[in-house]
Structure formats: structure tokens, C-alpha cells
């Protein structure tokens, strides 16, 4: 940065007198300048979490309003029997898009958005560890979201419900047009954004806490985020695996879900719901986390049962992965299998209930202050408990058989999601608005909105229990008169509009100009947690100095806490070198480890997202040349991004961060944030791979002969040759890293080049096996599955080639040295996973058939 060169020499932080107002003013000026959003149109290049988080939140709320309008269209259509307000096709598009947008463009992203704003504040950090990754995620989300939503204006929106069951969706004769492709590719693209956010948030919680914030002092919100982000990492990849199978069937006629050629439509249901059920908890837990922050404030006491909340969050996180088949009770699986999932579905009620009791106990033992956020929380608890109870009912197999795919389920899921997600979010909106915009939302409008919403909601959705019980199926365009459905449907429609009126009042309250109103007081609710140290009006720097924390509620318990932060008496009170910096600490006890430098504003993440989006959109319309061109541009942009902004060699080893503490600026290996990010990303990648292997094993279990007797590929020879090359690349990378650290740079470079070559050979040999044995992927599901595993693994080898080539170039450019070796350390980590993928693939496609 040019500013760095001009900055005058500033003395080290430990030598400054923080009591001198002039010193503080200079520090503040530097911090302000470093963290400021760029002016003019360059504002959109900003990567600061406070800016990106606000864009993200506003965009997801906008998508929610869009999906809400679709819901009103659906309700209008159903208000009277045999209505023709919408055509059947538009009706199908409306409800499919309603569910899809609410789930993928509102419920999941809003959690990421809110966390990007709140998490650094809660952790006393200046920013998250990878601000440009957040920005990249946002732009992916925006582009993908507009693409998916926009389709309805061209009559091309998906029409088959938000879970897209094949064969309805995979065969052109049932679903002509681009709808299903838009759903699949648009959402796959957004899933990239979700996984990026998950990586960012996990590393943020584990590594960016303020000194002293041990695991037992972490705000409960951070616990929830840790659990939820980890869940995303294991829940989204199976859906990506499913999407790949699905798109290969739609675009290239590979028969994964076609029973005539050995496929099975149920496999999609498995993969979808392995994602889909955890997803319910992925959207529920972060909202409940808001309750865990808000309730102590208005009870004016610490949360009762901190450990119990941790139990609930972690327990739910695990058990929610054992529920997926309860969406598939009517698919004819054996009773014993249904029994396992029914048991888990009942078991998950235990940790979920524990949270509710913890909140109630905290309220009962505290001195409750009545306020709009608490009003919405009470509404949330009431509605959610009702939804939870019907959930326990539908977890029982025989009951579910009666109400499966009826409006009873529609009622159940809306009670759970509106009670468990939307009401807590509105509570959070009223609670946190003063941090976002320096002023309060109106209490009066809030109360009116609350009563409209709670009355409208119950009037709208309670009758659906009844209409479902008497047999109204989901997703019907219209219904005949005289079935007893007229009245409950009319009431539901009236309720839906009352509910929408409540939402509109909130929208008005948020958007109305309030220039003349006074600023809100600092820490207006007298809360105890770190996010409330933010001054009003807020500053872009996140926190004035990084505090030492010794309590769960530092503002309540630590004397003089806010003043010490304001006066810069804690760590990092300055930006001496005019660089964006934040502190990295250890996982268990949050001991300071590193002064991490983050990148500044840049258009590069936006460009990368644009090219990636372009390639997905081109694929939707089968423009293959455009797709590969866009993908190539995307890769080039990302390499440009990494080359210039990551693993930058600092001008000095250590930096004085104040209070006599010096921290290293550059750390490689398992203590570095990028090593963790690579590890976490590869866990997600491995999960997607497991999803594909699950497909192979699934086909093995449902067929008496798998591989089919006439299939003689991919043989033994070429897969084993490939495995040898995989092992060679892996070893070469590891040894090269070891040599580099010992200072033997030339030898290390030689091995990097050799590793890059052997990994190309590994990919080629792996693909040669099915090619030379003439496996035709369109003929039967067996060759299709073998090809898919081989291609997936070959791509991993080729990515490994690019990475090694990148490291070689970095080494030649002097950016990768024996001392500064982050790049190669991370690539070595990548190769552990890539070699594991190669091993499993060869074992499955070449060795497994021998065992038969």
C-alpha cells in the first residue's frame, strides 16, 4: 500500500503513554484511515466485515421479502376452491421458488450475514481472518440469488418443489426447460458461498478470540456458530455430491436416478435429506443463539446453565445428522431402518428441550425488563414449542404415514421455522439495530408489528393442521368445493395477509428516515457482552484496542472495562504501519499467538465471484465454451488474489502490540489460520467425496450384481498405476517441504516440479482405466459411477498440480522461503487429503469388485 511508505515512524505500542490524549488522537486517526471504506464507487470493493455483513444481511432480507410475496400469491390462489388467480405452471413456480428462496437465500445466508457482522464484535476482533473470503461469499450469494429469483420473470423457474425429487425433475419429458438446471446450478453456486462462510466462521471462533477468552468464557453465540459452521461443512457437501449426479443425468444422460438403467431415484432423496435435515438445525441454532445473547440482557443476569446450552448445541449438531430418513418414511424402507431414524428423531427433542428450559429458567431467576425484543422472544418460544410438539408427533412412523405430504406438515414446518428462525431474527433486529445504525427502532411500531405477526401467523397456519388432517395434500394448485377445505383455506389466507402486514411495518420502521432522532445511548440495553462496547456513532475499526477478557460478561464484571478499551490500554491500540491487523490466539485458552495482517479493500473477490457465477450460468444454458472460458478466468483471478494478498512476507519478524507483548507477524503450520482453513475446506471436500462413495455402495446394496457381470472395467492395472503416482506426488510434496525448511531450496524446487508432473500422470492413469476398458457411462449406472469417482479424483490430482506449480513459482519469485513457508505447508496438507482420495477411489473402483 502506498500509505505504508508515507507513514512516519511510529514508536512501538508499549512505549506510548495511553493517558496522553494527543497520542490517542494520532492512533485513532491512523486506525480510522486504515479501516475506512473506500470512497465513491470504490466503496463496493470494501472487505471490512462491518460493511460486507450489512450488504449480506440486507440482501438476504430482500430475498425474504421476495419469497414472502410469492407466498402471498400461493395463499391467494388457495383462498377459494377452483381458483384461477395463477396458472398451474406459475403456481408451481411460485411455491417452488418460495421454499427454495426462503431456505437457501434467506435462512442459511442470514446466519452467515449476521455472524459476519456480530462475531468479530463479540470476540473483540478487528475483523474475521479472511475478509476477502467473506466478500467473495457475498458476491457469489448475490449473483446466484438474482439468477435463481430472476428465473420466474422469464417463466423459467423450477417447478418441482424445493427438494426436486427425480425422476420428475431429471427427465425432460416431465420438466422441460431450464427450471431444474437453474435450481441445481444456481444453488450449487450459493453452496460455495456457504462453505466459504463456514470456513471463515470456524477459524474465527477458534483462533480470533481476545486474550483470556478461554473456551469456558466464550459467548454462547460463538459456541452455536462453531457448531453450526461445522454442521454446514458436513451437511452441504452431500448435497453438492447429489447435485453433481443430478446435473450429469440432466445434461449428459448418466443414469444415476433412472431405474431402467440400474439407477435409483431414492439415492437423491438420501443425499438431499442428509443435507436437508441438518439444514433445519443449521438455520434454527444460530437464531436460538440470538436468544442466548438477548435473554441474559433483559433478565439482567448471566445465563443459567451455560454448560447445558453447550450440551444442547453440540448434541443437536450431532443427532441432527441421524434424522434424514424421517422425510422418507413412506418410501418403503424396512421398518427396522425407519425405527432407527424415528428413535433419533425423538432423541433430538432432548437437547432441543434443554435449551428452552434454560431460557425459561434464566427468565424466571432474573428481573425481566419488558421490551420489544423480549416480546418477539416470547412469541418465538410459544410458536416454536408448538412446532416442536407436532415434530415429535410426525417423528412417529405410523402418524407420519397419515399426514405425510399434507398441510399438517406445512403447518409443522412453518411453526418450527417461523418460531425458531424468523421471530428470533426479528428480536435480534430490534436488539442489535442500535449497533448497526446508531439509532433505535420504534417501540410502538415494534409492538404493533409483533401483535399483527403473532395473530396473523396463528390464524394463517393453525388451520393448516386441520386441513392437513382431513386430507389436503401439499403443492396442489387448486381443490374442489364441498370437501370441507373452503373455510380453513380462507382463514389461512386472511392470516397470511395479517402476518404480511406485520412484516411490512417492520420494513417501514427500518427504512423510514430518522435523521432528526437522537442517537441511541452506548450499550443501550445495559448488556454484558463484548459487542456492546461499540461506541455510538460506530467506528469502522471494530474495536479500539483488543481487550483481555476474564469473564463471560466483561462489561458487567470487569471494572473500568469500556474505558480501558477506549483509552487503548489493551493490546493493539494503533496501526503503526498502516495495515489492517487483528490478533490470533490459541484454541483452548486464547493465549496470544500472532498479529495477523489482513488484506485491504479489493475488487478481486468480486471479479472471482463474477467469473465463477458466469461459468455456472453458462453451464445452465449449455454454453460449454463460455463456461470453460469463465472458469479459466476465475482460476486466473483467484491465483492473482492469492499471489498478491496471501502469505505476504512481513518487513519485520515481530511486532510490539502493547503492554510489553511482542507477537510474530508470520506463522506457518498448524498454528496459522490458513492451515486451519485448508484443513476445514478439505474436510468439507472429503465429505462430498464420501457422498459419491456412498452412491457407489448404495448401488452395490440395492443390486444383486454390482458391478454387473458384463462390466469388465476399469480393470486393475491402470488404477494401481495411478495409485502409485498418487503416492509419489504425496511423498514428493512432503519431502520437498521438509527440504525447503532445511534450507535446501534447489532440491525442494526440483521435487515440487517432479510432484507436479507425477500428479498429472496420476490423473491421466486414473482416467485411462475406464477409457481403455470402454466403460460407457450412459449405458448403466455402474460405468457412470466409476467414471464419476475417477473424474472427481483426477480433478483433485490436477488441482494438486496447480498448487505445486504455484509453490514453485512463489519460490522462484522469492515469496516462498525456508522461513516463510505457509504456501508449501498448506499444499502438503492438501496432498494428505488428495492422496487419501486417490487411495479410496482406487480401492473402490478397482479392488472392491475383486472382493465379490
Amino acid at each position: 500500500m502506498s500509505q505504508a511508505a508515507n507513514a512516519p515512524d511510529v514508536p512501538p505500542a508499549s512505549t506510548r503513554d495511553q493517558e496522553d490524549p494527543k497520542v490517542r488522537e494520532e492512533q485513532e486517526e491512523r486506525l480510522r484511515k486504515v479501516w475506512a471504506s473506500p470512497p465513491g464507487w470504490r466503496y463496493w470493493s470494501d472487505t471490512n466485515n462491518t460493511t460486507v455483513g450489512v450488504w449480506y444481511t440486507a440482501t438476504s432480507f430482500a430475498f425474504m421479502l421476495f419469497a414472502g410475496v410469492l407466498a402471498l400469491m400461493v395463499r391467494t390462489q388457495l383462498s377459494v376452491p377452483e381458483n384461477d388467480f395463477l396458472t398451474a405452471d406459475l403456481y408451481n413456480q411460485a411455491y417452488t421458488l418460495h421454499g427454495t428462496v426462503m431456505m437457501f437465500l434467506f435462512a442459511v445466508p442470514i446466519f452467515e450475514a449476521v455472524s459476519i457482522i456480530l462475531l468479530p464484535q463479540l470476540l473483540g476482533a478487528r475483523d474475521l481472518p479472511f475478509p476477502r473470503l467473506s466478500a467473495f461469499g457475498f458476491w457469489c450469494f448475490l449473483i446466484g440469488g438474482i439468477f435463481v429469483c430472476g428465473s420466474i420473470f422469464f417463466g423459467q423457474a423450477p417447478t418441482s418443489g424445493w427438494f426436486m425429487y427425480p425422476p420428475l425433475t431429471t427427465q425432460e419429458r416431465f420438466t422441460p426447460g431450464y427450471g431444474a438446471d437453474i435450481w441445481l446450478l444456481g444453488l450449487s453456486f450459493i453452496e460455495v458461498a456457504s462453505i466459504a462462510a463456514a470456513v471463515e466462521l470456524i477459524v474465527g471462533v477458534l483462533k480470533c478470540r481476545p486474550p483470556g477468552m478461554r473456551l469456558n468464557l466464550m459467548p454462547l453465540y460463538a459456541w452455536y456458530i462453531l457448531v453450526v459452521a461445522t454442521m454446514i461443512l458436513f451437511a452441504f457437501p452431500p448435497l453438492i455430491a447429489g447435485d453433481i449426479l443430478f446435473e450429469l443425468e440432466r445434461l449428459f444422460n448418466w443414469p444415476f436416478f433412472d431405474p431402467e438403467r440400474g439407477g435409483d431415484p431414492l439415492l437423491w432423496q438420501h443425499l438431499f435429506w442428509i443435507f436437508g435435515h441438518p439444514e433445519v438445525y443449521i438455520i434454527f441454532l444460530p437464531s436460538i443463539a440470538l436468544l442466548a445473547m438477548i435473554i441474559p440482557t433483559f433478565a439482567q443476569r448471566p445465563i443459567l446453565g451455560y454448560s447445558w446450552i453447550v450440551l444442547a448445541a453440540v448434541g443437536t449438531g450431532f443427532i441432527s445428522f441421524g434424522l434424514w430418513v424421517h422425510h422418507m418414511y413412506t418410501t418403503g424402507l424396512p421398518t427396522i431402518s425407519l425405527g432407527f431414524f424415528s428413535a433419533a428423531s425423538e432423541a433430538v427433542a432432548i437437547p432441543t428441550g434443554v435449551q428452552i428450559f434454560v431460557f425459561l429458567a434464566t427468565c424466571l431467576t432474573g428481573r425481566i425488563i419488558y421490551s420489544v425484543p423480549m416480546l418477539f422472544i416470547s412469541g418465538a418460544l410459544a410458536i416454536f414449542v408448538l412446532g416442536g410438539l407436532t415434530g415429535v408427533m410426525v417423528a412417529i412412523v405410523p402418524f407420519d404415514w397419515q399426514v405425510h405430504d399434507t398441510y399438517f406438515i406445512v403447518a409443522h414446518l412453518h411453526y418450527v421455522i417461523i418460531g425458531g428462525v424468523l421471530f428470533p431474527l426479528v428480536a435480534g433486529l430490534y436488539y442489535y439495530w442500535p449497533i448497526l445504525s446508531d439509532r433505535r427502532l420504534s417501540d410502538r411500531l415494534g409492538k404493533i408489528a409483533f401483535w399483527l405477526m403473532i395473530v396473523g401467523f396463528n390464524v394463517g397456519f393453525f388451520p393448516m393442521h386441520y386441513s392437513g388432517m382431513i386430507g389436503m395434500p401439499r403443492r396442489i394448485w387448486t381443490y374442489p368445493a364441498n370437501l370441507g377445505l373452503e373455510l380453513p383455506n380462507l382463514i389461512s389466507t386472511v392470516g397470511a395477509f395479517i402476518f404480511a402486514a406485520g412484516i411490512l411495518i417492520i420494513v417501514f420502521d427500518v427504512l423510514r428516515p430518522r435523521g432528526k432522532e437522537p442517537l441511541a445511548k452506548r450499550n443501550i440495553w445495559n448488556a454484558g457482552t463484548l459487542e456492546w462496547v461499540a461506541d455510538v456513532p460506530g467506528e469502522d475499526w471494530g474495536i479500539r484496542s483488543v481487550p483481555i477478557v476474564s469473564s463471560r460478561y466483561p462489561i458487567w464484571d470487569q471494572p473500568n472495562f469500556i474505558d480501558d478499551i477506549d483509552k487503548g490500554r489493551f493490546y493493539m491500540p494503533d496501526a503503526e504501519e498502516m495495515k489492517r491487523e487483528t490478533m490470533v490466539t490459541s484454541v483452548l485458552d486464547a493465549q496470544p499467538l500472532q498479529c495477523l495482517r489482513g488484506p485491504g479493500p479489493s475488487f478481486v473477490p468480486m471479479c472471482a465471484a463474477f467469473f465463477l457465477g458466469a461459468s455456472f450460468i453458462a453451464a445452465t444454458f449449455h454454453y460449454w465454451t463460455a463456461m470453460f472460458a469463465a472458469l479459466l478466468f476465475c482460476v486466473v483471478t483467484i491465483i492473482h488474489w492469492l499471489w498478491n494478498a496471501t502469505s505476504v512476507i512481513p518487513e519485520k519478524e515481530e511486532k510490539d502490540v502493547g503492554r510489553g507483548l511482542s507477537l510474530p507477524i508470520y506463522i506457518a503450520g498448524p498454528h496459522s489460520v490458513s492451515w486451519w482453513a485448508m484443513f476445514i475446506t478439505m474436510l468439507g471436500d472429503a465429505t462430498a467425496f464420501v457422498g459419491l462413495v456412498f452412491g457407489y455402495i448404495y448401488f452395490f446394496t440395492i443390486h444383486t450384481d454390482f458391478p454387473p457381470p458384463d462390466a469388465d472395467g476399469p480393470g486393475l492395472l491402470w488404477p494401481l498405476v495411478s495409485l502409485a503416482f498418487f503416492a509419489a506426488s504425496w511423498l514428493l510434496t512432503l519431502v520437498s517441504h521438509r527440504l525447503l525448511r532445511r534450507g535446501r531450496v534447489s532440491a525442494a524446487r526440483l521435487l515440487m516440479a517432479a510432484g507436479a508432473a507425477t500428479s498429472v500422470a496420476a490423473a491421466a492413469a486414473l482416467l485411462w482405466g475406464p477409457w481403455v476398458t470402454d466403460l460407457q457411462p450412459t449405458v448403466h449406472v455402474y460405468p457412470a459411477t466409476v467414471w464419476l469417482l475417477a473424474i472427481w479424483t483426477a480433478i483433485h490430482a490436477l488441482v494438486g498440480t496447480v498448487m505445486l506449480g504455484y509453490c514453485l513459482a512463489r519460490s522462484l519469485a522469492g515469496k516462498l522461503t525456508p522461513k516463510y513457508d505457509i504456501d508449501l505447508a498448506n499444499v502438503a496438507l492438501y496432498w494428505h487429503f488428495a492422496a487419501g482420495t486417490g487411495l479410496v477411489t482406487v480401492a473402490v473402483i478397482a479392488l472392491f469388485p475383486l472382493a465379490n
Binding site: G212, R214, L215, N216, L217, P302, L304, G305, Y306, S307, W308, V310, L311, V314, G315, G317, F318, I319, F321, G322, G332, P334, T335, I336, S337, L338, G339, F340, S342, A343, A344, E346, A347, I350, P351, V549, S550, S551, R552, V587, L588, D589, T701, I702, H703, T704
Partner: protein, 125 residues
């Protein structure tokens, strides 16, 4: 009270019992799915599967009991006081032990739940 061989708790020990639940759950699901697919002889008894599930359940429960009891003993031995919010490594350890105990109890119950269908269902219907 002195304890030998104390566990040094961390995030991995915390999640060990629900992870055991997960492994046990997947095992039960896969053996049942393997034996009952492609679902041609649905009235045949599946005694073997039920015995296998019983054999998997016992060590799973034993591990949860072991982890839970161990965590409880350590937490008690050091007279940890709720709510474990002191800014010390000891209180962090107590907090992890207490939470481990809670998760062990939840996992124990959930494993029993999972095993019940195998006790009650005799074939692949």
C-alpha cells in the same frame, strides 16, 4: 482427592461420545440396509443383524459410561463449582469435564434409543 491419569480435556474429548453415537448409528443403519436390500425376502427373520447390533451397542454404551464417569469423577474431585466461569485453565477444564458428562449422558440415552428397534423388529418388513 488425588486422581491418577487425568484426562486433559479438549474439544475432541468433548465430542467423543456423540461421535460414538454417530458411528453406532451408522453401523446399525448400514447392517440393516445391507441385509434388507434389495428387499426380496422380507419375512425372513434377521437374527444375525440384531445380534450384531447388540454386540455394537454394548461397547458403545460402555464407552459413554466410561467417559461420563471419568469426567464426573474429575470434576467432583476438584470440587468444581458451577458455573465454571473463572478465568483460569482449571475452570476451563472443569467446564469441559462437566459438559463432557452431559454429552455422555445424552449419547448414552440416544444409543439406547437407536438399539431399541433392533430389539423389537424381527424381519425386513
Amino acid at each position: 482427592m488425588q486422581l491418577d491419569n487425568r484426562t486433559r480435556d479438549n474439544l475432541w474429548t468433548l465430542i467423543s461420545t456423540p461421535a460414538v453415537w454417530g458411528v453406532h448409528f451408522l453401523f446399525c443403519y448400514f447392517v440393516a440396509a445391507y441385509v434388507c436390500a434389495p428387499n426380496t425376502r422380507i419375512f425372513e427373520p434377521i437374527g444375525g443383524v440384531r445380534v450384531a447390533i447388540a454386540l455394537a451397542t454394548l461397547p458403545a454404551l460402555a464407552f459413554c459410561a466410561f467417559a461420563g464417569i471419568r469426567a464426573t469423577r474429575e470434576w467432583r474431585a476438584f470440587r468444581g463449582d458451577l458455573p465454571f466461569d473463572a478465568p483460569t485453565a482449571e475452570d476451563r477444564e472443569r467446564f469441559l469435564e462437566f459438559s463432557t458428562m452431559l454429552l455422555a449422558a445424552l449419547s448414552f440415552v440416544a444409543i439406547v434409543f437407536t438399539a431399541l428397534p433392533a430389539l423389537l423388529v424381527q424381519d425386513c418388513r
